[in-house]
């Protein structure tokens, strides 16, 4: 189809599809009214049963914990996928002679940015860890905290210390962190099996609701997820970063 024909066909079809959608959506209960029993039941019982004050976390990591396990592995698969898809460039880099590493430094970083970036690193990492650790109590959790931690690594890059980061060759370590996070989730699930109950069933003491060490396995799973997400996102970002740096080099030399 030519672009204009495609656009016209789409607009006609979308008008029909849109009308159908609206027709169906108008069958929903009005906005602001929630009728279903699922959420109300959980809101009523979760704190008592799970000693987790954040019911969303209780749902995510316990009642519907299998979904979240699948979700972690979606991220895991995507990280592997990106690594596979972008691998050719990596070969190229290794073919290129290993010139002085200083060239790889991100260009145009002023000292002020560098200092600021490094100064921010501490608080960002702390905040990330806090968010991971308090997931079962207040908003946040492994996923959000993990992303915050990953942006911490980005700060390191911004402050021009990417070379330092690269020189310690963190990839194997990151891979290990990511996969142990992912495996950790399954392992926590298997704890239940080992104790003779079902997969992902809580086998740890629930503790006092509202305190850091409560809610049984939820903080443990949160930790695994946090590890996986942080390492996963750093890997994702660095896959793209690495390429940018590599190919920018010839440009800089001219």
């Amino acid at each position: 189809m030519s672009p204009s024909l495609r656009r016209r066909v789409f607009l006609v079809a979308a008008a029909v599809a849109g009308a159908l959608l609206v027709w169906g959506l108008s069958g929903l209960p009005d906005y602001g009214i929630y009728r279903g029993p699922y959420g109300d039941v959980l809101n009523a019982v979760a704190v008592g049963e799970r000693h987790a004050t954040n019911v969303v976390a209780a749902v995510t990591f316990d009642y519907r914990g299998v979904d979240t396990m699948g979700e972690e592995y979606i991220l895991f698969a995507a990280v592997i996928g990106v690594a596979i898809l972008l691998r050719a460039q990596r070969d190229e880099r290794e073919e290129a002679p290993d010139e002085d590493a200083a060239d790889r430094r991100a260009p145009g970083t002023s000292n002020a940015v560098r200092v600021l970036g490094l100064a921010l690193l501490g608080p960002v990492v702390l905040f990330g860890i806090y968010v991971v650790a308090h997931g079962h109590l207040s908003p946040g959790g492994g996923f959000q905290g993990g992303v915050v931690l990953a942006t911490g690594a980005l700060l390191v890059y911004l402050s021009g210390e990417y070379v330092t980061l690269r020189r310690v060759r963190p990839e194997a370590l990151l891979d290990l962190a990511e996969s142990s996070g992912a495996a950790g989730y399954v392992a926590v699930g298997l704890l239940g099996l080992a104790a003779g109950v079902t997969f992902l069933e809580n086998v740890l003491p629930l503790g006092q609701a509202g305190t850091l060490l409560s809610s049984g396995m939820i903080p443990l799973i949160n930790l695994a997820v946090g590890l996986e997400v942080a390492a996963g996102f750093v890997l994702l970002l660095s896959e793209f970063l690495e390429q940018t740096l590599v190919v920018r080099r010839p440009g800089e030399q001219t």
Binding site: V16, G24, V186
Partner: protein, 597 residues
Amino acid sequence: MGALPALPVAVPLLVAAALVGLAPVIRHRLADAVAVATAATVAGLCAALLLQAAGGPVVYWFGGWTPRQGIALGVAFAIDPVGAGLATLAGVLATAALVFSWRHFEAVGTLYHSLMLVFLAGIVGFCLSGDLFNMFVFYELLSVSAYALAGYRTEDPGSLQGALNFAITNSVGAFLVLAGIALLYGRSGALNLAQLGQALASGPADRLVVVAFLLLLVGFFVKAAVVPFHFWLADAYAMAPTPVGMLFAGVVSELGLYALARVYWTVFSGPLAADAGGLRAVLLGAGVVTALVGGVMCVLQHHLTRLLAYATVSHVGLTLTGLALLGPAGLGGAVLYAVADGLIKGSLFASVGIVQYHLGSVDELALRGRGRHLPWTATLVVLGALGLAGVPPFGTFLGKALMEEAAGAAGHAWLTALFVVVAALTAAALLRAAGRVFLGLGGPPARAVDAPPGPAYPTMLAPAALLLAGALAIGLVPGLAGRVELAAARFTDRPAYAAAVLQGASGPGGADAESHPPGYPAGPAGWATLAAVLGLALGLWPLLRRRPSGPRRATARLWAPVGAALRSLHNGHIGDSVTWLVVGMAAFGTLLALVVR
């Protein structure tokens, strides 16, 4: 019952993570062995579940959150023979594919193995789950792994393009599914299939139910590649690496139809019961069109994997017609057919992979006569073609015979003609290609290109041969037809399913299937043979003629514009695929809105 239901998902995921984490210390061959062993373990676990489920549904509540007063708090796997059977098929195919990849290509560290195992876990979870959102999660898990696997051969631009189209079109499909889930949740406040079915059964089939069904139907049809949602398929399947193609064509397309059947019979069969007649017509129409378009496109291809990809589309259409009869007999036939067909497709993809590895091409014209030193591969391809045509005693024949019987009982005896035509078309395309490549018919042999000579490796031949043997075995197991019909009857029994999931009742459940007479029904066997002969004639005719004769030229003139139009429609453009998706959604939506009530 123990821990069995959780393991076929947990084990491959755990191993996948371990393979990546320990990559620096794992040798390549060890990763191969571990991956094969894991896939085989999954196949074994699923087979054990299949046996267990044959005695009654197996329900497993994760985290021990059993339902209270009919309200599901957690996520359940609700395992029946149909789902467990498909999961077993996936495990077998994955094992074969991993054995095949032993020699096939240089894998990147352990990443490839890991991704295959995650992919497998996604498929298995999808088949076993009894929770709508959980199904969506596993659907995404298998899809995300599939996108990456489809683009694995990054050196090939076609592969990347196929993967992009695949990923974008299927993601839109997934969002449609999610929107459908949201609508259902807004109405009923439930995500568990059984609970959803109970909540909707009391109400009428109003606009929300219709649109939710539409969204789910379209989303799953995108995965199944039903016309007009199939435009992404050929590029993705044909360009994927062979072992991945084996899994794609063998089981992934069928999953879309499985999901539709599952959702229809657990959730929608209550409110839509009164409109089953109209719904049947719509689904039958979709199946017939898909089967024919796929069959014609298949004949038009010279690229072997692309040819197989369209054969997949065509046979998904056939399976859909069986399902569209909306009865246990048709469903049983469709399931049997899909499983046997999946095994044969996996075998054929492997055979074509051998051709590609040894001859360096998959273009049947460029390969003319060059496959003479691959007699075993040739035998497998010809047998596979006969299997696709549904010749007894392949399992495909048994499945087709059941579907034909059900169609006759439902007053759609003309479906037999469709089965003959489609079987003849796909078999013809394949036999023509086999004649060219392995016998050198229809012209002088092509020039050889640089490729490893010698006989095919056993690690490549064996999976192809064993998969084919599996398809044969399905046709030969005594009493299988009756058992499958019993399983299908249970699959379609919504109240029994709900009772088993929500109350834990596991009675015999379902109506008794009428016992099947042993031996092959004569009528269907005759039709199947006719299809095979027709296919052979159609396929070899163009090859044996030196010069196009008068009538042939006339038909060629007649067909050329049709073929050209079909080809130009299948251009692999992303915008086009998405446009057709919306067109299809509008069309199906209008039909459903007219049909229901």
